[in-house]
């Protein structure tokens, strides 16, 4: 045992300490995995619904074809889906971010109403990990102009 040089002793000791520390940190983070999530997925909300009126967040995809504007012009209804089959109907009154559209990611802050509709008070758009250039070539001029208008509005 005494054959180890002091610096090797320190190396071994520090190695053990680091492994123990990392394991402790990762275990703590792992234990937090439910509490530290920023939002419920639709499946999680269906399986384990929060109390009616409790402030929570719901995140998922805006289902294609589900987005409807109500007659008052500022209230929208849409359905949020996830990887599973669960669907949560959402209602929101207000202005949505530029990236919010059908088929894209969304995080809604709000609460569940007794009838199972999620009443959102804030809508955040969730970008995915893909970065794809917009192809202006091959588009008609009006379409390209519309695209440019859509993504630059509010930036000037």
């Amino acid at each position: 045992m005494s054959a180890l040089k002091p610096k090797h002793q320190r190396l071994v000791l520090l190695g053990f300490a680091l492994v123990a520390l990392l394991a402790a940190g990762l275990l703590a983070a792992w234990a937090l995995r439910n509490q530290a999530s920023y939002f419920y997925l639709p499946d999680q909300m269906k399986a384990n619904p929060p109390a009616v009126g409790q402030a929570v967040r719901l995140g998922g995809m805006v289902e294609k074809g589900s987005l409807k504007t109500l007659p008052d012009g500022v209230t929208i209804d849409f359905t949020v889906t996830g990887r599973g089959n669960a669907q949560i109907p959402v209602r929101f009154t207000g202005i949505v971010p530029d990236l919010f559209e059908e088929g894209s990611g969304v995080v809604a802050e709000g609460h569940l109403a007794p009838d199972g509709v999620f009443i959102a008070s804030t809508i955040l758009a969730k970008h995915d990990e893909n970065y794809v250039p917009r192809e202006m070539q091959g588009m008609t001029d009006t379409k390209a102009a519309k695209m440019a208008e859509k993504t630059t509005v509010g930036l000037q």
Binding site: S37, L41, V96, D98, A125, H127, E129, N130, P133, T151
Partner: protein, 240 residues
């Protein structure tokens, strides 16, 4: 490694490596950012705001690389007792803190038009803010240890303990549902179109060179400071 632990040899190397890193880094950054600003097409969803990618990603990488440098130097100092490694850790702290702050600021500016919010307390943003606080704490601790003549092993141990946050930042978007998107670049594949990826990698290289240059310059300054103090002490002894 023992060769570079010799301050004389380190200084001889750093004397020409410092300006080389800084100058080439500035040139590469200017080129990559000009390219990103004027040549790259807009993103199909985010439009023009995608250009902040070329700042935000290198800043995030250098915030984390900064703490990795700090932790590695701390480890070398604790095990092999190289005084230069302690200087390296101290030199990496301030630029690391600056890049982490810049990452948080650019991310916030980017979040407003894309997500619709300046800030959310999700796993990625929160763990990155914790990294910034760790840098601040390290700077305060290392400064206090030097002023009070306490062992530099205390900030070194803190540097190692803080490294626990690095895998948490990295995994935060995978373990927990977060508003921040999952990693775009994983082992061997990228969800970023080459049109964006190439200038991004070049700008990352440029900022990394600037970071290395700043760390080397600060190490030289810290060495000069120590030498000046030693000389003053010697003078005072002779006079007495």
């Amino acid at each position: 490694m023992h060769g570079f632990a010799n301050p004389k040899r380190f200084l001889a190397l750093a004397r020409w490596l410092t300006p080389l890193c800084l100058a080439s880094g500035l040139l590469i950054c200017a080129g990559a950012l000009g390219w990103g600003l004027f040549e790259v097409p807009p993103d199909q969803l985010m439009g023009q705001t995608v250009r902040i990618l070329f700042l935000h990603v290198p800043f995030a990488w250098l915030g984390m690389a900064g703490w990795s440098t700090l932790a590695l130097c701390s480890m070398i100092f604790l095990v092999w007792r190289h005084p230069l490694a302690a200087l390296g850790a101290r030199a990496a702290a301030a630029p690391g803190a600056v890049f982490t702050a810049l990452c948080l600021i650019t991310g916030s500016i980017w979040g407003r038009p894309t997500w619709g919010t300046w800030w959310v307390w999700d796993g990625r943003l929160t763990s990155m803010l914790v990294l910034f606080f760790l840098f601040c704490a390290y700077i305060a601790l290392a400064g206090a240890a030097e002023r009070e003549g306490v062992s530099p092993r205390i900030p070194a141990i803190f540097g190692l303990v803080g490294a626990v946050n690095l895998p948490i930042i990295n995994r935060s978007v995978v373990w927990w549902n977060s508003l921040h998107q999952p990693p775009s670049i994983t082992m061997g594949k990228s969800a970023i179109d080459p049109v964006f990826l190439v200038p991004l990698l070049i700008s990352t290289l440029g900022f990394t060179l600037i970071f290395a240059g700043v760390v080397l310059a600060r190490m030289r300054a810290l060495l000069a400071h120590t030498q000046a103090e030693a000389r003053l002490r010697r003078k005072a002894m002779e006079a007495a």
